[in-house]
């Protein structure tokens, strides 16, 4: 049993939430992007979270004790594009307009992205609080040694 493994779990959540915030920021930044390398407008991306065994696929995983079967970290499993079709806007003078004068804009609602971003920020803070609590416990356990 070690408390350092607890830090790894909370740390995995920090990484996952940061990745989620990055994807959301990218969606917000590209809300008006009509040109991409693949052609067509930018497509909104969504992250999919999944529970993950602590220390999986690493050396620590080989040495993991039974507690890791129950206590799981989190990871971004996939980033999937939103299949919603683009929004057509009539802008005949736009260079990306089609023959009818319509421009395809990404179907991104900035309010929805902002709400998600706030959710990611709160979850991040929450896990920082958990890290803080665990750090306190570790430093307290060190006090057994000193006097």
């Amino acid at each position: 049993m070690n408390l350092l493994g607890v830090l790894e779990i909370s740390g995995s959540a920090l990484t996952a939430e940061r990745q989620r915030a990055e994807v959301l920021a990218s969606n917000l930044a590209n809300a008006q992007t009509t040109r991409t390398a693949k052609g067509g407008p930018y497509q909104r991306q969504m992250v999919v979270f999944g529970a993950r065994e602590a220390g999986q696929g690493r050396f620590a995983g080989v040495l993991s004790d039974f507690t890791d079967r129950y206590a799981q970290g989190v990871a971004v499993k996939r980033v999937v594009p939103d299949p919603t079709p683009p929004v057509q806007r009539y802008e005949p003078e736009h260079p990306d307009a089609d023959s009818q004068g319509y421009v395809a804009y990404p179907a991104i609602n900035p309010i929805e992205e902002m709400v998600n971003l706030m959710g990611a920020a709160r979850s991040y803070e929450l896990n920082v609080a958990a890290v803080q609590a665990t750090k306190n416990m570790i430093s307290e356990s060190l006090e057994i040694l000193g006097q």
Binding site: M1, N2, L3, G5, V6, I9, S10, S12, A13, A16, E17, R20, V48, F49, G50, A51, A54, F66, T67, Y70, A71, Q72, G73, V74, G119, S123, L126, N127, A129, A130, A133, T134, N136, M137, E140, S141, E143, I144, Q147
Partner: protein, 113 residues
């Protein structure tokens, strides 16, 4: 079971619970994740009865009666927050008692010389 062994079990259980709480908090946005916990008191009783022979293996259960969100996740922030604070204090108590135990032994050694 000596007092020191008891305290060590107590700290192990507190650390294990801390791990489960961290796991619950880490998965607050994971669809389908269920809150997990241990029954601290019955695990402590079980630990005392098995005389510290076997390795610690608490029974982990999925906490019933929590409100589930549409994505199947039922992590409750208030519950985990309270437990986090509580487990931290329990751990601190264990450390403090263990420290006193060591001081007692150390005092006995010094007085004896």
């Amino acid at each position: 079971m000596s007092r020191m062994e008891q305290l060590s079990e107590y700290l192990d259980l507190a650390a294990f619970r801390q791990k489960l709480i961290a796991s619950n908090l880490a998965n607050i946005d994971t669809p389908g994740y269920r809150t997990r916990d241990i029954d601290f008191q019955s695990e402590m009783r079980r630990a005392q009865s098995r005389l510290g022979q076997e390795a610690l293996s608490p029974r982990v259960y999925e906490v019933p009666g929590l409100i589930e969100r549409p994505d199947g996740n039922n992590v409750n922030l208030d519950r985990e927050g309270m437990l986090l604070a509580r487990t931290q204090l329990q751990f601190r108590l264990g450390v403090e008692l263990l420290r006193q135990e060591f001081q007692r032994i150390s005092a006995a050694v010094k007085e004896g010389s």
